[in-house]
């Protein structure tokens, strides 16, 4: 990668972060539009984005954010209240920025739909704030205009000079300290278009810095079509009245490529003229507030401030984490080495203890580098909730808990899509279709969606709850039979029945109405979460609501595992799946021909899976009541893994397997134990892929 490409890659990453933050901040500002600190923050982000976009030739993005920045700058410097419909424009602008960024990155020739419209609205807004009269063409089309415009239309006898004079008088009344008033006359030669000069180009340049700009085109010499030459300028004169903070020389710079006879700039002094009805003032313009002096929160100051963070490639973090993993293994090896332990030397013992503590501390700190609060992800979900709420027309209240809960950065990136899907499902299909339906059953008209994150037994749980109609268990069960997902003979818990809605093919267009859409794409969500070594649990009470809980490991690099031994080999069962472990009573163990062994416990029949059989280990066959059963929850139901003994519980660094072992679906990875031995991590879902438990009877 060349230096230029590296810099560009950094820009793209930074721009992505800025836009992501904008998306969140703009919603916060929508909630509290008097938070001008936040508006400053948004402005700074947009300002940085503009500079970077232009530096890398992303001119379409640069142009858009340039005008958006103007609007933000106006509000932050005047502290003027932002009108509600303008807040909508702000939110819409961030959407456009996101889309334009994609267009720029993918080098797409077309701009996103709504780009021009949104940009025009921004320009109109800023024009109104600069006291340039606003005419919304759409709204006034075809209507006669009660202002100067009507005097210039077809059939108007007034001379151009008169109306220019009127405009000058109007602008003199608007003149204030720090502003200069000029009359500019453009008399471009007929070949000006061929030379690349157009009146509008100059007006646009003047408009960039103008407080007000009004121009008058003399069309007298435009010929009829048979004599008309489109590439020749037929506009003999354009007079513009400009109110600007620029000096005459600065204004003249705009015309430096014109011939001297093609332009004239005349400064106009202020004149005390009482305001008359003819003064054109934007209908939407608000009274100006005292300008706020730029302070330390200006972009320049911000950019020059010392930074307290540095940017590190996550690949380097992964490398660091791997190295620390090796360190932990080496430290465990020393700590558990029998020969070292047999040395009766207090200083060696203390040194090993110190090494162990330091290693643990380093491991924790390196781990924390990968951990980020889930706040940003939740903030993004606020937008999803807002948009889905608007789209469905359902009024709802969002409750967010546990935003500070930290989660592995790698997982955060993969979590957004499943979370968005579940939230949309909860709003669209979980909540009742209208307020009346809710009120009828004694609920508040406004629905509630609750987003929570919390730690539970060494895992992280992210849940989405709705207080809607809940899932009809019976209908799900019957539908699953109809779809051939289950036979109907299975003995399923409530959670397993609800889990059926996440099976591929459960929900289709003709699904029963009150469940419609519940299964659409949920199988994809389930797969995504399982890729993160997590699982989804569903709880629902009909009429009260539904909760989807994503149970995830703290990190993808380390797993909390239960170490078990069978036939002299150590295996690791992810503790996330473990329900309980015990030595069974002989009475609860049964065997059926063709069905294998199972245990009856608390009304459930749980199949027994001998680990030694799964991996074809040669060992003396013992009875289940002579061994240990570890009950685990799998996607196909609960199973009891039979092992010889429990070794302990330990956090292990996951190591990828080689190609030959990777084909074994019963194993997800490996780990090096303190003894230096290798242990395989079990994929419990593959230990028993089908529901085979007998329906009843022993």
């Amino acid at each position: 990668m060349t230096k230029q490409e590296q810099v560009k890659a950094i820009f793209i990453e930074e721009a992505g972060e800025i836009i992501e933050k904008l998306d969140i901040d703009i919603l916060r500002f929508e909630e509290n539009s008097s938070d001008f600190d936040l508006l400053n923050e948004i402005f700074r982000g947009v300002h940085t984005l503009k500079g970077n976009a232009n530096a890398f030739g992303f001119t379409r993005l640069g142009e858009f954010v340039h005008h958006f920045e103007d609007v933000l700058d106006h509000y932050r410097s005047t502290k003027e209240d932002v009108e509600e419909h303008h807040l909508e424009l702000f939110v819409g602008s961030v959407d456009i920025i996101k889309e334009v960024m994609t267009c720029e990155l993918d080098v797409l020739p077309d701009l996103p739909d709504g780009y021009a419209e949104c940009l025009e609205k921004i320009k109109v807004l800023i024009a109104s704030k600069k006291n340039i009269p606003i005419l919304v063409v759409v709204e006034t089309a075809g209507e006669p205009l009660p202002d100067l415009a009507s005097e210039f239309g077809f059939g108007c006898p007034e001379q151009m000079e008169d109306v220019v004079e009127k405009s000058i008088h109007s602008h003199q009344a608007m003149k204030e300290e720090g502003l200069n008033l000029y009359r500019i006359d453009l008399t471009l030669d007929s070949d000006s278009y061929k030379r690349g000069f157009d009146h509008l180009v100059f007006l646009n340049l003047l408009g960039e810095k103008a407080k007000s700009l009004e121009s008058f085109f003399d069309m007298e010499n435009v010929k009829m079509l048979d004599q008309f030459a489109g590439d020749e300028n037929a506009i003999t004169r354009v007079s513009a009245i400009l109110l600007t903070p620029q000096t005459k020389d600065e204004v003249a710079e705009n015309f430096e490529f014109l011939f001297d006879h093609e332009y004239a700039i005349t400064p106009i002094e202020a004149e005390e003229i009482p305001q008359t009805d003819e003064i054109i003032v934007a209908a939407t313009a608000k009274p100006k507030k005292e300008a706020v002096k730029p302070s330390s929160d200006t972009p320049t100051a911000s950019l020059n401030a010392p930074k307290s963070t540095i940017r590190i490639d996550t690949f380097k973090l992964d490398e660091l984490f791997d190295s620390v993993g090796e360190l932990v293994i080496a430290q465990n090896f020393i700590a558990q080495n029998e020969e070292i332990r047999s040395i009766e030397d207090e200083s060696i013992r203390r040194s090993i203890e110190t090494l162990s503590k330091i290693t643990k501390k380093i491991q924790d700190r390196v781990m924390s580098l990968r951990m980020v609060a889930i706040r940003d992800t939740f903030d993004k979900m606020k937008r999803v909730v807002r948009d889905t709420s608007k789209k469905t027309g359902k009024e709802l209240h969002l409750v967010v808990n546990g935003e500070e809960t930290e989660i592995d950065k790698t997982m955060i990136d993969s979590l957004s899509d499943p979370l968005i899907h579940i939230i949309r499902n909860a709003i669209d299909h979980g909540l009742e279709s209208d307020n009346a339906e809710r009120v009828k059953v004694g609920k508040r008209a406004e629905g509630t969606i609750t987003l929570r994150a919390f730690h539970k037994s060494g895992s992280i749980v992210i849940s989405v709850s709705d207080d809607g109609r809940g899932i009809n268990k019976e209908k799900v069960f019957n539908k699953a039979i109809e779809r051939g997902i289950i036979t109907g003979d299975e003995n399923l818990t409530d959670s397993q029945i609800f889990g059926l809605i996440m099976q591929p093919g459960f929900s289709t267009a003709d699904t029963i109405s009150d469940l419609s859409g519940r299964g659409v794409g949920l199988d994809v969500v389930k797969t995504s979460i399982e890729k993160l070594r997590g699982k989804i649990e569903i709880e629902s009470k009909e009429g009260q609501g539904t909760t989807f809980s994503m149970v995830l490991p703290l990190t993808l690099a380390i797993i909390d595992g239960m170490l078990v031994q069978t036939a002299g080999e150590i295996y690791i069962i992810p503790t996330l799946s473990v329900v309980e472990s015990f030595r069974p009573e002989r009475e609860i163990v049964h065997a059926l021909k063709g069905q294998g062994e199972f245990i009856s416990m608390r009304g459930q029949h749980i199949p027994v899976v001998r680990l030694s059989d799964v991996f074809e280990l040669s060992t003396q066959r013992i009875e289940p009541w002579e061994g240990i059963l570890v009950c685990v929850e799998t996607e196909a139901g609960r199973i009891a893994i039979m092992v010889d003994e429990l070794v302990g519980r330990q956090q292990v660094v996951i190591k990828p397997l080689g190609k030959s072992l990777a084909k074994l679906k019963e194993i997800t990875g490996g780990a090096i134990l303190g003894s230096g031995d290798i242990a395989l991590i079990l994929n419990v879902d593959e230990l028993r892929p089908l529901i085979e438990a007998p329906s009843s009877g022993n």
Partner: protein, 87 residues
């Protein structure tokens, strides 16, 4: 540019090249047109388009060009723009 029956709808933000194409398109069709409408949301990019519209109106006065008849347009970029035809 959209042609729907007697009404031709054009965008204001045509480039010089597009204006020339529009001119070539409309010259042989001027007699059949009833109205020229302007798409919403555009911003005038070239005074050449304004000249062409004035020329069309001058050539066929019964042609309706509501935009031109308003005598002015506004934009956040170039403020208020008036045109005077002396007709």
């Amino acid at each position: 540019m959209q042609f729907d029956g007697d009404v031709l709808t054009i965008g204001l933000d045509m480039s010089m090249e597009e204006i020339r194409e529009f001119e070539q398109f409309i010259r042989p069709r001027l007699e059949y047109l009833d109205t020229i409408e302007i798409e919403e949301g555009g911003t005038l990019r070239s005074s050449s388009l304004l000249s062409l519209l004035v020329s069309l109106k001058r050539t066929r006065p019964e042609l309706k060009i509501p935009f031109l008849e308003r005598g002015m347009t506004t934009s956040g970029v170039y403020g208020t723009l008036h045109w005077m035809c002396h007709d």
